[in-house]
C-alpha cells in the first residue's frame, strides 16, 4: 500500500469506470491491476451500490418514458 497517497486523487472516475466495466463484465488486465492497487474494497462496494441504484433509476425513467408515449 505504498500508493496510499494516490487513493485520494482522481479515484472517483476510476471507481466509476471499474463499476461500469463490472456491469458489462469486461475489463482489461492492466486496468484491473491498477484498480487492485489503487481502490479500496469499500470504495468498490459503495461504488457498486451507487451504480446499481443509478441502473435501477435509469431503467425506471426509460420505462416511464415509454409508457407515457401512448
Amino acid at each position: 500500500m505504498s500508493k496510499e497517497e494516490k487513493n485520494t486523487s482522481g479515484t472517483f472516475m476510476q471507481v466509476a469506470k471499474a463499476v461500469l466495466a463490472a456491469f458489462m463484465g469486461i475489463r482489461k488486465q492492466s486496468d484491473l491491476e491498477n484498480d487492485a492497487a489503487n481502490l479500496k474494497p469499500a470504495q468498490v462496494i459503495i461504488g457498486g451500490l451507487i451504480g446499481a441504484t443509478l441502473f435501477v433509476i435509469s431503467i425506471l425513467v426509460l420505462v416511464k418514458i415509454i409508457v407515457n408515449l401512448n
Binding site: F23, M24, G25, I26, V67
Partner: protein
C-alpha cells in the same frame, strides 16, 4: 492468524482418535466435512430422483395410473425442494469445503466447529422432508415455491417442510459465513484476491448472496408459520393480508437463489476449461467483475416470476428490461470460456466433456430464460412445461453437469485413485443424450400449452410426454453408473499419478501431494 493455525493444529491430534461413527460425528476437518456434504447430496439426489421417476412414470401416458393427484403434487413439491436444498446446494458446499482451503493455501476452514454443525443440521432437515410423506395429510403439495393460500392450508406435512427449510437456511448461512471468513482471512502469503482461482471467487460472491438471500427466506417462512399458527394475516386476504406479498418476498430470495446455484458451477467450469485447453483463463478479471455484477443485478429482477400475478405495466417493463440485461454479463462468461478454448491444446477427458456439455446446454437454458423474460411471451408460457424446460437446462445441464465435471476433475486428488476414463465418457454421453431427450421436448409441450404440476393431460401431448419419460428413466439409470464409477475409483488399488492433469495450475495440484493429506497446509505455501 496465528491463533487460527494453532487451533487447527491442536485439533489435528484429537481428530485421529475417535474412530468409527464418532470420527464423522465430531470431525472438524474440512475434508471429512466436505466428503459428508458430498455423500449427503448424492443421497438426496437419488431421493429427489426417485420422486422424479414417479412423476415421469405417471406422465408416461395420459390418464391417472400410479399416483393419486394429491400424492403427485407432493412428489413435484418435494422433488423440487429436495433437489434445490438437498442436492445441488450441499454439493457445492461440499466442493467448497474440500477445495477452498487447498486452493487458497489455508490449513482448514476458519470456523471448524461451526462447519461441523452446518453439516449435521442437514440431517434432521432431510429426515423431516422425507418423513413428511408418512404423516396424516401427507407431504406438502403446493409446489416447491410453497405459495399461499395452498401452503396456508395443508397439514402437518407443510409444517415439517417449513421447519426443514428454516433449518437448511440456517445451515447455509453458517456455511456462507465460514467461506467468507476463510477466503478473506486465511489466504497464504502472496495469494492476493486477484490471484485467487476463479472457483474461490465465485464461491466468495455466492457466499455474500447467501448471506443476503437466506434471511429473506427465513423471514417469509416465519411469516407463513405465524399465519398458520398464531393468527396473523400477512398473506391472508380475509384478514387484510395479501398473498401476492408472499410471491414478492419469496422471489426476492428466489432469484438470487438460482444464481447461488449457478455461480459456483461457473467457478468449476472456469477451472476445468483452462486445464484441458492448456491456456490460462481468458479474461480472468472480466470474469471476476462479471460475476460480481451478476450477483448485484440478480437482486433486482425477481418479479419476472410474477408477470401473470398482476402488475402495472411500468413494473412489467422494468423487470423485463432488467432481466434481459442480466443476460449480458452471463454471455460474457460464455464468450470467455470459448476464447479460452480457442487455439488451445485441447484434450477431452471426462471433466472437459462435462464442462463443454455445460457450456453448450447452459446457453440453451439462458436463451429460453430470455424468452421467458419477454412479458407477452411469458404470459403464454408461465406455468407451462416451457418453464420446466428452461430451468432444467440451467440446473441439470448447468449446475449438475458442472458438479459431475468437478467431481471427475478432483476425484484423483480426493481419493488418490484414478476413475475409469472409459466409464466416465459413457456417463457423459448417456447423460447428454437422455437429458436432451427428457427435456428438449418439454419446450414443445410448453409452447403447445401443457401446464406444469398436473398428473394428467390432454391426448395431443401424449407422444412428447412418452419421449420425455423414456429420456428421464434413461437419465436416472445413467446416474447409477456414476455411483459405480465413484465407488470403483475409491476401491481401486492403483495410485493416481501425482498430477494427472498436466495443465492444472492451482495450488492443490502444484503444492500438495495426491491424495491430499488430511491437513492441507500446516505451513502456508508462498505464492509468487
Amino acid at each position: 492468524m496465528a491463533a487460527v493455525h494453532g487451533d487447527v493444529h491442536g485439533h489435528g491430534h484429537d481428530d485421529h482418535h475417535p474412530t468409527g461413527i464418532m470420527r464423522w460425528v465430531t470431525t472438524t476437518n474440512h475434508k471429512d466435512i466436505g466428503s459428508m456434504y458430498l455423500w449427503f447430496s448424492l443421497t438426496m439426489f437419488f431421493t429427489g430422483g426417485f420422486l422424479a421417476m414417479g412423476i415421469r412414470a405417471e406422465l408416461f401416458q395420459p390418464g391417472i395410473q400410479i399416483l393419486e393427484p394429491e400424492l403427485f403434487n407432493s412428489f413435484t413439491t418435494l422433488h423440487g425442494l429436495i433437489m434445490v436444498f438437498g442436492a445441488i446446494m450441499p454439493a457445492f458446499v461440499g466442493f467448497a469445503n474440500w477445495q477452498i482451503p487447498m486452493m487458497v493455501g489455508a490449513p482448514d476452514m476458519a470456523f471448524a466447529r461451526m462447519n461441523n454443525w452446518s453439516f449435521w443440521l442437514l440431517i434432521p432437515a432431510a429426515l423431516l422432508l422425507v418423513s413428511s410423506f408418512f404423516v396424516p395429510g401427507g407431504a406438502a403439495a403446493g409446489g416447491w415455491t410453497f405459495y399461499p393460500p395452498l401452503s396456508a392450508q395443508g397439514g402437518l406435512g407443510v409444517d415439517m417442510m417449513l421447519f426443514a427449510v428454516h433449518i437448511l437456511g440456517a445451515s447455509s448461512i453458517m456455511g456462507a459465513i465460514n467461506i467468507i471468513t476463510t477466503v478473506l482471512n486465511m489466504r497464504a502469503p502472496g495469494m492476493t484476491l486477484m490471484k485467487m482461482p476463479m472457483f474461490v471467487w465465485t464461491w466468495l460472491i455466492t457466499a455474500y448472496l447467501l448471506v443476503l438471500a437466506m434471511p429473506v427466506l427465513a423471514g417469509v417462512v416465519t411469516m407463513l408459520i405465524t399465519d398458520r399458527h398464531f393468527g396473523t394475516s400477512f398473506f391472508n386476504a380475509a384478514g387484510g393480508g395479501d398473498p401476492v406479498l408472499f410471491q414478492h418476498i419469496f422471489w426476492f430470495f428466489g432469484h438470487p437463489e438460482v444464481y447461488i446455484m449457478i455461480l459456483p458451477a461457473f467457478g468449476i467450469v472456469s477451472e476445468i476449461i483452462p486445464t484441458f485447453s492448456r491456456k490460462p483463463l481468458f479474461g480472468y478479471s472480466s470474469m471476476v467483475y462479471a460475476t460480481a455484477s451478476i450477483a448485484i443485478l440478480s437482486c433486482i429482477v425477481w418479479a419476472h416470476h410474477m408477470f401473470t400475478a398482476g402488475m402495472p405495466t411500468v413494473g412489467q417493463l422494468f423487470f423485463m428490461y432488467a432481466t434481459m440485461l442480466i443476460a449480458v454479463p452471463t454471455a460474457v462468461k460464455v464468450f470467455n470460456w470459448t476464447a479460452t478454448m480457442w487455439k488451445g491444446e485441447m484434450t477431452f477427458e471426462t471433466p472437459m466433456l462435462f464442462a463443454i456439455g455445460f457450456i453448450f446446454l447452459f446457453v440453451i437454458g439462458g436463451f429460453s430464460g430470455v424468452i421467458c423474460a419477454i412479458v407477452p411471451i411469458d404470459i403464454q408460457v408461465q406455468d407451462t412445461y416451457y418453464v420446466i424446460a428452461h430451468f432444467h437446462y440451467v440446473l441439470v445441464s448447468g449446475a449438475l453437469f458442472a458438479l459431475f465435471g468437478g467431481a471427475y476433475y478432483w476425484l484423483p486428488k480426493w481419493t488418490g485413485h484414478m476413475y475409469d476414463e472409459t466409464l466416465g465418457k459413457w456417463h457423459f454421453w448417456l447423460s447428454m443424450i437422455f437429458f436432451n431427450m427428457a427435456f428438449f421436448v418439454q419446450h414443445f409441450l410448453g409452447l403447445a400449452g401443457m401446464p406444469r404440476r398436473i398428473p394428467d393431460y390432454a391426448l395431443q401431448f401424449a407422444d412428447f410426454n412418452m419421449i420425455s419419460s423414456i429420456g428421464a428413466f434413461g437419465f436416472g439409470l445413467t446416474q447409477l453408473l456414476f455411483v459405480y464409477i465413484v465407488i470403483k475409483c475409491i476401491r481401486s488399488k492403483e495410485p493416481a499419478p501425482e498430477k494427472p492433469w498436466d495443465g492444472a495450475k492451482t495450488l492443490e495440484w502444484t503444492h500438495l501431494p495426491t491424495p491430499a493429506p488430511y491437513h492441507s497446509f500446516e505451513t502456508p505455501p508462498v505464492v509468487k
